[in-house]
Symmetry: D2
Subunit: 333 residues, 4 copies
Amino acid sequence: MRFISDNAAAAHPKVMEAVVNANHADTAYDGDAYSARLDSAFSALFERDVRVLWVTTGTAANCLALAALCPPYGGILCHRDAHIEVDEAGGPGFFTGGAKLILVDGTGAKLTPEAVAATCERIWPDVHQVQPKALSITNATEYGLSYRAAEVAELGQLAKQRGLAFHMDGARLANAVAFTGDSPADVTWRAGVDALSFGFVKNGGLNAEALVLFRTDLAEEIAIRRKRSGHLLSKGRMLAAQLLAMLEDDLWLTNARAANDIARRIGAGAPDRLLFPVEANELFLRVSADEAASLRALGFDFYDWRAGEIRLVASWDRTSDEADRLAAAIAAL
Amino acid sequence: MRFISDNAAAAHPKVMEAVVNANHADTAYDGDAYSARLDSAFSALFERDVRVLWVTTGTAANCLALAALCPPYGGILCHRDAHIEVDEAGGPGFFTGGAKLILVDGTGAKLTPEAVAATCERIWPDVHQVQPKALSITNATEYGLSYRAAEVAELGQLAKQRGLAFHMDGARLANAVAFTGDSPADVTWRAGVDALSFGFVKNGGLNAEALVLFRTDLAEEIAIRRKRSGHLLSKGRMLAAQLLAMLEDDLWLTNARAANDIARRIGAGAPDRLLFPVEANELFLRVSADEAASLRALGFDFYDWRAGEIRLVASWDRTSDEADRLAAAIAAL
Amino acid sequence: MRFISDNAAAAHPKVMEAVVNANHADTAYDGDAYSARLDSAFSALFERDVRVLWVTTGTAANCLALAALCPPYGGILCHRDAHIEVDEAGGPGFFTGGAKLILVDGTGAKLTPEAVAATCERIWPDVHQVQPKALSITNATEYGLSYRAAEVAELGQLAKQRGLAFHMDGARLANAVAFTGDSPADVTWRAGVDALSFGFVKNGGLNAEALVLFRTDLAEEIAIRRKRSGHLLSKGRMLAAQLLAMLEDDLWLTNARAANDIARRIGAGAPDRLLFPVEANELFLRVSADEAASLRALGFDFYDWRAGEIRLVASWDRTSDEADRLAAAIAAL
Amino acid sequence: MRFISDNAAAAHPKVMEAVVNANHADTAYDGDAYSARLDSAFSALFERDVRVLWVTTGTAANCLALAALCPPYGGILCHRDAHIEVDEAGGPGFFTGGAKLILVDGTGAKLTPEAVAATCERIWPDVHQVQPKALSITNATEYGLSYRAAEVAELGQLAKQRGLAFHMDGARLANAVAFTGDSPADVTWRAGVDALSFGFVKNGGLNAEALVLFRTDLAEEIAIRRKRSGHLLSKGRMLAAQLLAMLEDDLWLTNARAANDIARRIGAGAPDRLLFPVEANELFLRVSADEAASLRALGFDFYDWRAGEIRLVASWDRTSDEADRLAAAIAAL
């Protein structure tokens, strides 16, 4: 039973159906009828005008956004464990032309205004040191914590005061919203976010992510950067159709709730082993190597984290029964 | 009836079937069972060991290859009308870190050893002028001409003499091979090609292209660059499965032959209007604006080229009947 | 007798004296008293507020300006023979992060509004083709022609209409101004120029060039880029002092007039051999290989250009007598 | 009395004399007679064949070296306080095309093999995380500590084992060598260093630093990168002449000894205030804000470091008397 990653889960049947249905000749790139509907569909969800560009990966969404939000000679404040720092092979440096990630500490990969401000204060405001130009947070975080809208708003206010652009890596925004109950609008643009990488692939999508621009003036530049970086697919309708299917009847939210519920059930079986509260679809547990081996022997698949720790990720296609069996197995260790 | 581009054609049913069948949980990125079969499948086709990486666009394939073949301070010799020069939004400059495209002339977007050598001779061999480090050709060319294996070999020999890496943009290599009858091996690595962007999306694929490396030592670097540029999709099995489906029973060749046949039939109706012989699936015709309008009034869709010229592109999903009706319509102008 | 380049001429005694006098401890980088005087000294010369940054090479001045004026995904219109295209080792691509030089033709390396506009018209306004974002001209041109202020103004108007930033490579602006008699203001910002690489090294300076910004808002960004590219020297006072010495009593103009006069005298001896009129300090002459050899046998040193052509460059430190002897030698061929 | 930085000290009279003497027409760039002598002069000093390129700043030397030693997608291990991380405005990211600095901790900005190895161990060896490709150390360190040859050799061995290129930022290598008594050869290439930024500007030079290549195969590439980044000065002879003057009669060592002696004398007056032992020409002292104010009132100029700390830098042109007066003033606080 796979709890190793939501990355590799199956695509949802409705997504697959949408892809199959979009398989007819249409205008290439993003000139098709599906892509044309994206802005309005996401504008409805976010309760304001937004511009949306499809891309195939979260790395592309993050890096395209950051390249538009931060000049090559600027710095991007982010958590030390942020995906853009740890897991994107230096992509931000490549897309921005050498901008620097300025690392901030915080429990559970979560940033606080205090920690961000303190980091900024340590930077000498001259031409010798790289000056921060953007702030990027991940929601839900790399450790499965969810920002409340008010927390994002505090960071947004700080960003505004310091002249920083504000980006949210929402690879698991669906899970965060499913957990907090905040509206997509409240946790993003109303809290000061300029650009959002809105993830779908981990949540039932096939290979389409949405780069949502609240600063709509950036759309033209990013569309060029998307082409220039090889991310303008010929048959973009197949991506747009996925996103539309995910928005229809809030499938994105249904899937995220399902995944969160799986994670919650597993966590309920091991409250004292949790490194962090379960606020999305990821769990980090204190589990010894021997214990991990015995879980694997029972057919459970997961990721070894630091020594004595494991990571479990729930996806929309896991069942409650699987979760309960895993919870029981952990409780029985 | 769409003759505007092969880019936007439907994916072949067998390709769609392969994608649907690959929709189950598996290891993420390219750790899945489908991706694992790519090297051997393409090695069989090319009659030698090759390394293959899937990407979603020809621009990504071209630019990743060029970034590995040419240093940031080098130059890439290519035709003035090459896709990498004209249609990739400066992608080669982005991926290479500022390498320069050095433009060469040639009829029908085709390069000759003489023209390439003459261009090299005009470059002063010092640190002030950008020195050529790579050669890139497109086969079939942007004007629908196909290189014979012997022609490629002459260029390959020149490249070797001058210490140039040799890249082939084979967005329509299938059509070229279908026309010339040369083997994939003869027209690529046996002729000195180091890396090949092998196109499938214009030829019945959904969104998977193959970057085929004859210099297998480049695979590790390019795999990193693929991730770094946001081109390592989570569910890579959906791309690998497409490529495998295209190779099975030579579907790629069957589709290309079908498209070439459509183009040949159309061209047969207008031999005196052709700007170039029909050697693949593209036609460029002398057609006045009035004539173009009357063709469009009959339901034919195509691209206006330079003044008094149109471009028609045949794809695998057009029918002989459509082709013959178009040929007749042109003949009747 | 060296007529091979003004690059390698001696520095003027007053410049050397200024450097020697500035050799005392002061604040590092550009925090010294000399650097502090630059803005006002150049503002007086240009009859308006300007911001000035010293750099050590014309390539640095050109590329820093272009990086601020053109985004990485944009194009820079310039002449096919422009220094930035031919002689800077791809520096513009490096500094801009991959922007493309879009080449325009024109006699004597001079651009006309018609040629620039025609080049722009051929570019399809979509995300596939690189869109022009800046225009760069060289004055005096690489073939020693000088733009009149009215010519620059026409180009400036076109740039404004098309939303292009406007850069002037003035490596030999002094010679152009000495020839035309136009004021520095008229031939630059009053004609729409945003940033000027103002050359001094070829004109009696030691190793200081001035990047003059009429768009003063760019100064902060360029100061950062200067540091980032390793061009912020510790003892900047030695550069600033040179520039101040060159401005004092219009030494820059005196030197340029002297060099132009040398060129004029040489050209007077060979009016029918001139490829272009002598409008600055460079001459291009039709001289056969045998003739060139006989001139060299007389002790004259110069540069072979294309077959049957030579280039002569006059510098401030050549004498009228040397010029007249060379003129006579050419006339006697 | 200036103890704020060695950056802004005067150039040594012999250096100025060399510059003045080199002021005559010669071949441009690095084609002159002075530049031609550099390789042999430095080869003698380093007891083996080296290739040397002059540049005007330490940032340029460091970044050109790193760009040749580390691919754009690689990581450069360095201390958290290294100049390349803290004081070069992101230059390494710019020159390398986005390589990442991977930060290592260590007392006094000094790296140990254990700390470097531990950092490497934490990096997952896949395409998602940036893999280290180079190691860079600063000698003397940013806190004025000097590596012994044996310490460098241990790091060199580790670098070799792990396939890392090895760069030394020797902005103050002269001071380190003056302190340890190690030979230049022992502390660099014999210890495994591939490329050395050998600083002269802080040590009596005017504006010439030497990039010394023990991997002589890199010289051609770096010469191109030097031009491309605008660092190939027209009158390079003025830089080469400085370096030759610094090597003559070991002026570089004499100056460094003088500066170290100044620092030692000051430190002797405040042994209990020292944050680090004085092993070069920099001192970091625990001095309260009030104490700092009273020192400044006595005419001493220096840099405020972290709260309650000051930095003093001795240069070759300070006198023993000044040092002793400062030492006395500190002792009297």
